[in-house]
Symmetry: C2
Subunit: 363 residues, 2 copies
């Protein structure tokens, strides 16, 4: 997608064919800076500190992290260590494990001398597949948007989203925002309600910034506001992404998603979840029992990062000294609250039957 008129992706192989470029998302929306990852440890650090975040982008960064490890040392022990270190960076997103399993499956049978080139090729293939999957999600989601927009001739369709499931969360296009971008580009009038998404403010910082760069009309609201907006008939549709979807359709996504799904159901607003199939964990069915929820540092709650009047990006404390904080980073929205899953293969009900029909080879 475009930043100040120039095309960018959030991850790319540098011209040296070895190091990996990323947009440092911890500085947005205040500063647009890139960083270069030269080692597996740097890739793990970028995932852990959320310089890159979003389930699909975490998977892509981990794949390139394996390639960087192989470029340093392609022996079996180094491969095993890279897979272990990268797998431990974030516990909730299943794309991370999916990408690492795939890299391991491709690389283990090869002689060490062949592994580096194969790793870079596989990481690049994984990135391009993600871009294609997201574009397909965008096309399938566009049909849902088109149907709802037809019911509001002459008025913008009002979409609420939580966190950032835009192009910055993926290798391009985004998941939840792919239909938004495609609808906007197709001339369908839209307005996006952007949840701030405390504690890390990915909505206010990343989604608002993406939509602003692309010219999509939007308004930032506190996470608390979504229920009120839906109750007053000001939201036509919710679309969010996910970090893991069970084989039965339960959805782990950024903390607070479940509250918006409850409000959507209470007000009769459609609630859709956009995911590439790499986000589906076919090994589990019960999201509440089986998905580990990452507990992140309390400082993300007790402090807020922002820009001062003189342009510095600083972190300020919002709680009293001595008050502890808890920071569960994700929650699980039960499948019963999800209307449709939007995947690269089409849309389906958030049920085991719906998912099996769309992906007959998987189980």
């Amino acid at each position: 997608m475009r930043v100040a008129g120039r095309a960018w992706r959030p991850i790319w192989l540098e011209a040296d064919g070895r190091t990996v470029g990323i947009i440092d998302q911890t500085l947005l929306p205040h500063r647009f800076e890139t960083a270069t990852l030269s080692t597996m440890a740097a890739a793990a650090h970028a995932i852990r500190t959320m310089q890159v975040r979003g389930a699909p982008l975490i998977g892509a960064t981990a794949a390139y992290g394996v390639a960087l490890a192989m470029a340093g040392d392609p022996a079996d022990a180094a491969l095993d260590r890279a897979l272990d270190v990268l797998a431990a960076t974030r516990p909730t997103a299943v794309n991370l494990r999916w990408a690492l399993d795939r890299m391991g499956r491709v690389l283990r049978p090869l002689a060490p001398a062949e592994r580096t080139a194969a790793a870079y090729a596989e990481a690049a293939a994984l990135v391009e597949e993600d871009v294609r999957a997201n574009a397909a999600i965008g096309r399938h989601g566009l049909e849902l948007v088109r149907g709802l927009a037809a019911a509001r001739p002459g008025a913008p369709l009002r979409i609420l989203t939580h966190c950032n499931a835009g192009w910055l969360a993926t290798c391009d296009w985004g998941t939840a925002l792919a239909p938004v971008y495609m609808a906007h580009d197709a001339g369908i009038p839209l307005h996006v309600w952007v949840d701030e998404t405390r504690p890390r403010n990915q909505g206010a910082a990343l989604t608002a910034w993406e939509l602003l760069q692309h010219g999509v009309p939007h308004t930032v609201v506190a996470d608390n506001a979504g229920g009120h907006l839906m109750q007053r008939g000001l939201v036509d549709l919710c679309i969010v992404g996910a970090d893991r979807v069970t084989a039965a359709g339960d959805v782990a996504n950024k903390i607070g998603t479940y509250l918006k799904a409850l409000a959507a159901r209470d007000s009769g607003v459609p609630f859709h979840v956009a995911v590439p199939s790499s986000t589906i964990d076919w090994t589990i069915s019960d999201g509440i029992a089986d998905i580990p929820i990452e507990e992140r540092p309390a400082a993300e709650v007790t402090r807020v990062q922002g820009r001062t009047a003189d342009g510095q990006v600083v972190s300020v404390q919002v709680t009293p000294d001595g008050s502890p904080a808890a920071n569960p980073a994700f929650d699980v929205t039960p499948a019963r609250l999800v209307d449709r899953l939007i995947t690269e293969a089409g849309t389906c009900a958030a049920t085991a039957e719906g998912l099996r029909a769309l992906f007959p080879g998987r189980r």
Copy 2:
């Protein structure tokens, strides 16, 4: 209640018998400072800028604002003007209108020369009634807390609250927190989940500070976390305050309350609302149709106030330049999602019948 071991109320008549002291709540939890209101305009400004906030405290400040106006000019025109100016400061809390109606009723029949003394006496009476009402709310709420705590012998009762309905929101004790303080003082082990309450962070800034000063165990969480905590069985009870309750039991309270009520219902957690009867608007029944929702400045969403590493209290921008924000300050929780109303007269179901039985003289 106590601050650093000394008893304080959030509003008091100064020793000169004319000016009014307040705790400036916009600086908490970082700085504890008081301010002196010498004119009606200063009282209106304190309400508008939220140096004082919370429905009962807004009412008390408005009552003293009328007294300050009378001290300056006790003529009919000045009385009418004071009632108008103060009524326009905040639209949602009904205590404001209730307090001003009461002051007008007492003062209008009097000769101007008698009005000043009568206004101060009435404002003081209103404050003392609020303190007594909140203490009674605390005692009635304590019985509910005791019942739930008995079901968890040896383990702390886990209470979630939203915004600040503590002593800082009232003339003393608080509404939602009055039962918490009384239970804590009675030796019932408690733990309070404190919603941050964006955009103004009254939970992180005020509720956490109050609980810390009083020694009540608590943990601050992002507003997004409550649904997850309830779903995982980590919340035994929700108690919130209100800015207006309709005669049918609909509850207008800080934006985000409705989302917590939905989550409580989905997980079977009791959801109680603590209010003095001055918060009940007997003239309306349909909260969604009839309660005006204050739209506050967008800057409260686009910026966050906090303390820098070197101790300065500053405001930082969290959104990109050019992204608009909306800031509805309250939402309406339908009566069907409220388990009990806790008032100074006892507890009742959130229904017209429940309220009528508790307040047979009102309609």
